[in-house]
Amino acid sequence: MTRTTNISKVTPVVGLEIHVELATQTKMFCRCINQFGDEPNTHVCPVCMAMPGSLPVMNRQAVAFSIKVGLALGCTVPEYTKWDRKNYYYPDLPKNYQISQYDLPLAAHGVFEIPLESGETKAIRVLRAHLEEDAGKNIHDLPGCTGVDLNRAGVPLLEIVSEPDMNSVEEVLGYARSMQRLVRWLGVSEANMQMGHMRFEPNINLHIEAGGQTYKTPIVEVKNLNSFRALERAVAYEISRQTSEWKADPEGFTLAKLGKQNRGYDDNTEKTVFQREKEEAHDYRYFPDPDLPAVVVDEAWRESIAGDIGELPLARRQRYMDAYRLAFQEADALTMDAATGDLLDAAVAVGAEPKRCVNLLLGRAAAIAKERDCTIADLGIAAGQLAELATMLTDSNINATSAETVLVAVIEDGGSPAEIAEVQGLLQVSDTGRLEVWVDEAIAENPDAVAKAREGDKKVLGFLMGQVMKKSRGAANPGEANKLLKQKLGG
């Protein structure tokens, strides 16, 4: 029997595990190239194939990258950390155990500030971040069988586990996107979703207040989500599914009665689906890996990595708003990655006006970056070039339109902005002698308009200015030209 329950409040409670593939040159335990998308089984060796007698040797850079993320998340990085084997059978896991970290992760207990749409931030607690190896890939579209490609087997994977501090789909997405920005910012991962560099596993349940009581629904872990869209849909679907399941059975559909469940996600239906589990699925028989010595992270190592981190995205965004007087949107756009802001700061450091630089970066340059699917910094503009062009604007040596043209040329072919402007005749002309020629011509060629203008028609004055600019091919200093035109019309 179903009774109607008066829900006064539903609070989704979501925690997120994020797997990030680290952008090391080589795999975690062997020196095979860490590279996506090549022919199957081309980056393999006895170690990552689990041939008998092969042994793992830990990649120093993978450890350093993980510590860097841990420190950036405000985690404690303990002095002593070790490697454990997680035992389970799967064809893309050639050793049939995964080298991971069980009880002593590289980083624990941090806080990650994420931006909310309101412009405020929210602190999400990070439970732990540990380093483990990725599995290979099972290919399912072969005739009548599954194929195993081990190119990805043994690629370093950082698993970052949050506390269940997110309470909406928006917060989950905000956290995931901020994490993507952070790991790119730190230079530890390309975090390219198409290449599987980031995968999500949200834990979702609801706290439902009804009839003066709080009900908790069973916690569902959704496995292996490979895109922000899948993450968004899976969480949204779970919120609605759990709400209706609870409504159908308020006393039965509870955490206390049903505990934790795993569900899969179907990309086609955009729904989560029930997954049958093997009886012994969770008995991973973790134990310390005898092949790998422990890692001691001493003060010196920790400090040297911390020194590499620099300013983080949220802090930089705030600084841009405060010091450069940028709008939120502008500051946000400039802190999507570290290098673009670095370029801006470097141009400002040599004397350019911040606002002029920002306008240049967020104009045609941003559009080209979007077309090329890269960051603004990736366009290859040097700080000196940016500063030179910005200063030309400040000094009225070029107008805004021409500056864009010059910037495009800088992006395409490189070179000095001043020289490009000179060669292309884009330098702004303020010299009265040269301006006078264009103004006189415009007056001579448009007697009717001149007559109207002299009668006080302001609109026609604009038309005549347009003619002057046209004759100068955009090079005339508009202020000076306007002054001169008014003089000549006897205004």
Binding site: P46, M49, A50, M51, P52, G53, S54, L55, P56, V57, M58, R85, N87, Y89, P91, P94, K95, N96, Y97, T146, V148, L150, H282, D283, R285, Y286, F287, P290, D291, L292, P293
Partner: protein
């Protein structure tokens, strides 16, 4: 006796010298050994595979001066759990029966870089699990002293090959006694080096925190020579030690005078009986007579007792078997029929059946038993009671040794509770077989070097080994003490009856 068979009488060092000085050719040496294998290995069964063509080719290169080094032209046998790019690496298992490794084991590569000629791969207990070589899927290996008896194990093929003069020297691997116990039973010298002294890269893992490769030789000088060559840091093995390898031959002739020999009370209990005890007692007297001092030391957590029903009892054995089975349950998980090795030919429903049937068909009983024991010891609910407990007891054992070595330079004790037992004698009782390692397990837990060398013969004419134990990186002292015993006792370079029978 022909001139060719004379060469098989030489130790590795002597043969290397004869070849280097031109007294003998490498080709003659190889031919002599190939002839010996033809003549005697049918009765012994030491080899799983002999690389006759390759060995001849290398010998030709040695004779042409193209291959040089301290072991140039010396034929060495290698246990079949060390990967080589030539021949197969089977671990005496059906699972790997056709496996051809695309890489070389570092220790074997080091030997060949020193000019040695790998003569073949020797039989063993499957995946090195056993103490008699009866757990081999390939053949029976017999003890050259009495072919009704086992050669010991798991490096039984290497021990028998050395004792029957079917190679100049051999490599074995030792996880809980697998070099020292067969060395003792076959009357040869066997050293398990300090953990990490020799790279494990290319050694098919059994118990990763316990496994070490070591030499099996006719005398202590050869053991020192081979150890020098196979030892050293390897950047492919994260557990290999970076300390420089000393010249182990340097102290060989220093004698026993001034050596402090520790006698652990707990190894000299009622459990040590009969003929082994009298050989050990004799060895103690020999050392004293040679000027060594003996001191009583204590290893409480390695104590060996005999319990009410006559079974040997030791905490170290319990801890050892928990740890080695736990590690092997995970190490051998990779043998699943997917990337290499045996796959069932029966039709299977799914991947789980493919795994379970392939493994069931191709792994032997003892291997299955140990994998299951290990999975039990690690499984949820039992981890703390078994595996973690064993790791703690391991520390207690290691601490005992560290304390004992404050009072002595080397420890002397038995290698095995008895001389070689009869084929089939212990195969029905796994636990009984495990207890054959009771004097050797604790060193592996503590990572210490240990060497077995011939102590004398039993009244049946079977060899009895004595075991010397050193502190971490104490190999130089082991070689010195071992050589001193050889010199004083005259028990070195024993000749097994199988060879005498030929002459």
């Amino acid at each position: 006796m022909s001139a060719a068979s004379d060469l098989t009488i030489l130790t590795a060092a002597e043969l290397a010298k004869a070849i280097a000085t031109g007294e003998a050719s490498a080709t003659a040496a190889i031919e002599a050994y190939l002839a010996a294998i033809d003549a005697r290995d049918g009765a012994i069964g030491a080899y799983n595979e002999v690389f006759a063509d390759r060995a001849r080719a290398r010998a030709t290169s040695v004779d042409a001066g193209e291959i040089t080094g301290p072991l140039a032209g010396v034929p060495i046998a290698v246990k079949d759990n060390m990967c080589t790019t030539y021949g197969r690496t089977t671990c005496a298992s059906t699972y790997l029966a056709t496996f051809e490794a695309p890489y070389d084991c570092t220790a074997v590569a080091n030997l060949e870089a020193a000019g040695a000629v790998v003569l073949g791969k020797t039989n063993m207990d499957e995946f090195a699990m056993g103490s008699s070589t009866e757990n081999s899927s390939t053949r029976m290996t017999r003890n050259p002293w009495d072919t009704d008896r086992v050669p010991g194990g798991s490096s039984g093929g290497s021990a028998a090959a050395v004792a029957a003069h079917l190679c100049a020297a051999a490599l074995g691997s030792d996880t809980g006694g697998s070099i020292r116990q067969p060395a003792a039973l076959c009357g040869i010298v066997g050293l398990k080096p300090t953990y990490g002294r020799v790279s494990r890269y290319g050694l098919v893992a059994f118990g990763s925190s316990l496994d070490q490769i070591g030499p099996m030789t006719r005398d202590v000088a050869d053991a020192a020579l081979l150890t020098r060559i196979i030892a050293g840091h390897d950047d492919r093995d994260a557990t290999s030690l970076s300390e420089d390898v000393p010249d182990y031959a340097a102290d060989l002739a220093s004698g026993a005078a001034g050596l402090r020999i520790g006698l652990p009370t707990e190894f000299y209990t009622d459990a040590l009986g009969g003929e082994v005890r009298s050989v050990i007692d004799q060895a103690i007297e020999t050392y004293r007579a040679a000027g060594a001092e003996t001191v009583e030391v204590s290893l409480p957590h390695s104590r060996i007792d005999i319990d009410a029903d006559g079974k040997l009892s030791s905490f170290a054995v319990a801890a050892y078997y928990i740890i080695c089975t736990a590690e092997c349950s995970s190490n051998l998980a990779r043998f699943d029929g997917v990337h290499y090795g045996h796959r069932t030919e029966e039709k299977v429903e799914d991947i789980i059946e493919l795994y379970s049937r392939s493994r069931a068909e191709s792994l032997g009983e003892e291997v299955k038993r140990r994998i299951m024991l290990g999975n039990y010891a690690l499984s949820s609910g039992y981890y703390d009671a078994y595996y973690n407990k064993a790791l703690k007891v391991r520390r207690l054992i290691a601490n005992d040794f560290a304390a004992a070595f404050k009072h002595c330079d080397v420890i002397l004790c038995a290698t095995t509770p008895t001389p070689a037992f009869r084929i089939g004698e212990k195969t029905d009782d796994p636990l009984e077989m495990y207890l054959a390692d009771i004097y050797t397990n604790s060193l592996n837990l503590a990572g210490l070097p240990g060497m077995s060398l011939p102590g004398g013969l039993s009244s049946d004419g079977l060899p009895v080994g004595i075991q010397l134990i050193g502190p971490v990186l104490g190999e130089p002292t082991l070689f010195r003490a071992g050589r001193a015993f050889e010199a004083a006792s005259g028990t070195s370079r024993l000749t097994s009856p199988v060879i005498e029978g030929q002459s």
